[in-house]
Symmetry: D2
Subunit: 341 residues, 4 copies
């Protein structure tokens, strides 16, 4: 049960909480934009929701059956639109699609600047680039760290594109918010709840990648951690799951797109680069993602993929990306939901 | 190594086989359309392919590295086009897309006739319907068997649509070819090599579904069984794989579409009905399938899904299907590869 | 609902069937050892089981909730013991364990004879050997077919060991029963229902391998097909499932052993050779299988694994096997369930 | 290539590093117990290992092919023995087995004290109990946090059992080392490299659980993060992987036990409680784990499982646990590797 209270007094909140406790329900309280949202869990059979609707300060009472509450369509019927940096063209979940592009890792100012100019010219409205790279081996390139963030900020200012970058350490959140417009939670950290709780408080939109073995429900529960922590601007990102099939590095699970749009009001975008692991399948799967209802894409692009310090095999060249954007424009127009540029 | 011989004499074939045996290579011989194709396996390092190219009757010699030979792009660069019943509109792998539709199981003449008229009106150019249903439980409906085939033939003649139906027993192949235009190998029988070998000799196109846990390579090896047995008219069909994700009944693996088109010259179509297990996701995934390059679709449609004897939850109503076909026409036109009607 | 009738007259059976039909229940009738077993499916709420218990000829009425009926512990509380060829030492499901061993494929009389003598000396009480080999590629060794069966019979008679061999073709069942003591259904054919139905009628024990992507429930449903077809002597065999982990060829799922022993009265044995794909892990996993309650083992042994025509990497040498049997004798004695020899 | 230097001077280390850089190799330097270990990655073909063996301060040079270096058998042939708190009976990897037991979560002093006394009496030599619980839902019990650690310390002192507890936040490592003898990295954090790096510096043994979708190689790479960070006392723990099979909550992958013992010198224990998700399978799988070579077990035990705040269904009662320990003593003695008590 979710009780939404509109600008309540502390006393009004306490009366609600006390009554819930009398009914032996566990409570969880979130303040968000003047509202207070009380989540109650337990055996609801003995308690009458109508009772709570009549209490002072209470706006409405919802029975939400799914384990994710704030992320559910039951809680909010209308699509959430995440407008990054108040931009109308870097916006996810509305009537148009947005494409994020850029290199896997930030390697140098020149590399990132060339990427940024190229992807912006082709039609991307947001730049990606990693400064902190979680790598399977301790002996491989781990990113430029703070230097990478400095480069990212400089390129962002020079090229005028909002930026997203991955945060991996709860102690780094305060630093990162000074540099990026969207904080990314990577697939390996999807259930790093400590990190989710810290990021939720940063007052920035969050791009939440699906863990490579996470069920859709676990993914939405991770989003719920962010929302319960006060962050309502969550962009979900499907990026491939681990299956028995090894021809592709991951199995991009596009089924998740219509499923998530059905279960949740949050925007969902698709990462065909990590999702497939090879540049060759990025184009077809990007088009498929759009066709099944994704709200946008995030694509790895590198000026010189064969020299990339990470994920070269799955990066598009600027030429490939430009051609793909041309195809996506035609396709998205036919689908009635054009790409932002 | 594959040695293609053009209308060779038996003596010419024997000379080739003998030389291969001298090189300790295992040989496998197929006759197809006047040609004889000799497959040689083993350590090729000691044998000179040029040697074989100069032997009488030999047309060309190919080194094919993939385990599937005849199904590979290396063996045949151009797309195979399977024109069912010599029809130009029930054709797979060419410049236009074709859609197969109909009920999971044949239940009665009325049910199948109503389905057939409805899907044809909406734009399908081929009818599906099962007479022999492999079911997990011995206690559930197993299909109408020969009676089902009689109904299928009657409806086919009445409505003028070519038909596809599943064969499950090698002893039934001769019977089935009298009723159907395309023989379907179901997912559970993808590695039933006895059945594949029998079906390969039937001189009919074969719709080969991917096993729900088959790798792409195993699937193409199953196609190779058909081709090595003399059947060159193979239509591959992706229908979902088994993963840890249980929100959808299967995980439709659209990545397989561009991968198979890259590795093989055979047409590949998509079954979003079995692939997802719910009518709700059929539309979005059908569109995604087209967008990533599928050569066609096979969709379950039932006049009254809630009363279907099998697979009701994943069947579209005729209204849903008609609307989907309208959307597919717009989408496929934008992609430059219109749907046959 | 299952209605067990003891030596009923045809009329008594018909009265039961008619009453079930009045209650709108689907019925399925099996005769086995003088008994007739009627399975009824559908909405049981309206029918009173007690009513049926009082009908003439009815011995008892059982409500079985699991989808497998005859294979369930609810239907039969006591363990089924399958005594192969009436032998007390080639018996599965009783107070002692039995080990089946031998090569993957029958290659020659000498190879099989040497294997048989060796494994019998080491303590195996049953011989395995394939004459029909389902192989992923049409170009690899497919077994010696009928010649292989002749060799198998000759060695069986010479060495006095009962034998098991795989059947792949429903048209071959009549032939095979002349040569083997136990018919094996391979993993790829676990859901080849046509084959199961044919084998069920052969009046021989059946070794039913779990499909490499079959759930435990699907596996027990395949056993149900055999039992519903009249075969009560089913030995289940866990042989590894397909997962994301590729270090081992398959992931031997030993969890299935206690689960199946809990759900079903049928014996379950383990194949650590196919289950892991490498001789190196056969010993440890064989011991683990015994420790978690398996009723026996089936192990690939070859006199010269590096020259085996199939599955060499996972075959033990005779020396390795002899040593393993010594270890298993100690272990199984400590577990209170000694190995037959 | 790994270069082990014995008590080198800084100058000696620099000479090695400089030469490696001349060969264009990436270097990584670890100091551990007086030794300095230099890891070099890149194209080794141009560099002569013998050259490095002759440099001053260099003890030996190893070519390690696996991606994990310090964790590999190639680097260290002998088994690592982790003796917790210098105890001979809470020791992992030696000639005897050790069993860790206790509740999933610390709920109260009484609950933990009763558990500790019970499991010690039954033969466990180490206590488990979680103070920080990573939970899928933000609305469920998350552990008693610091209060839980206080209880854990009090019970540890009262009952004289070393303790292990999970660390989830890099900012908590300093706090936790004051309370626990072994730091546990949970399955969800196996690739939380930030946490691994922080924990590696804590100078405590680490229990590293396998991620539920981690390959064996990824798991050993996570151990490599710990070892490269200076922690040589790593205990690996198999706890079940995610597969398509849902009858058990996870699929305990016992194959990993002999595989890891083959690839690595690190001890490996098994958690049959999380591995199966139900108390019913804990006993059989614990025995199987011992039989295939595990160095120990970690088992969830609760005085009153039906009232446990988390993981009740998979917890043994004290009675069940006592009986299991009796069985394990007999089994482990027969295997020649008795259980510590």
């Amino acid at each position: 049960m979710i009780i939404v209270m509109n600008a309540p007094t502390p006393d009004q909140v306490n009366r609600v909480l006390n009554k819930l406790k009398q009914h032996n329900l566990a409570t969880y309280c979130i303040s968000s934009g003047g509202n207070t949202i009380v989540t109650a869990k337990g055996d609801l059979s003995a308690c009458n929701p109508e009772l709570y609707e009549r209490m002072p300060g209470v706006d409405r009472v919802l029975i939400v059956k799914s384990p994710f509450k704030l992320a559910s369509r039951e809680f909010q019927a209308d699509d959430t639109v995440v407008a990054v940096a108040n931009s109308t063209v870097s916006s996810f979940g509305g009537s148009r699609l947005s494409v994020i592009a850029g290199p896997c890792a930030i390697e140098s100012y020149e590399q990132l600047y060339e990427s940024a100019v190229g992807v912006k010219t082709a039609g991307a409205t947001m730049l990606r680039g990693g400064a902190y790279k979680p790598r399977t081996s301790p002996y491989t390139f781990q990113g430029l760290a703070k230097n990478g963030l400095e480069i990212l900020k400089a390129v962002k200012d020079a090229v005028k594109l909002p930026v997203v970058s991955e945060v991996t350490d709860p102690r780094n959140v305060d630093l990162m918010v000074q540099y990026v417009d969207v904080l990314q939670i990577g697939a390996r950290n999807m259930q790093n709840f400590i990190l989710l709780q810290e990021v939720a408080m940063a007052n920035k939109p969050v791009l939440l990648k699906r863990g490579n073995s996470a069920t859709i429900e676990e993914w939405l529960m991770a989003a719920e951690y962010l929302m319960a922590g006060g962050c309502s601007q969550v962009i979900l990102c499907e990026r491939g799951i681990r299956t028995f099939e090894n021809y592709t590095r991951n199995t991009l699970d596009l089924n998740a797109v219509p499923v998530v749009k059905h279960l949740s009001h949050l925007p969902v975008i698709v990462d065909p680069s990590h999702g497939t692991g090879s540049w060759r399948w990025v184009g077809p799967m990007a088009k498929a993602a759009i066709a099944c209802g994704a709200d946008g894409l995030i694509i790895e692009v590198h000026p010189c993929p064969e020299e990339a310090l990470s994920d070269g095999p799955q990066s598009l060249t600027l030429n490939n990306f430009t051609q793909l954007m041309d195809e996506l424009r035609i396709l998205s127009a036919a689908l009635g939901r054009p790409v932002n540029t």
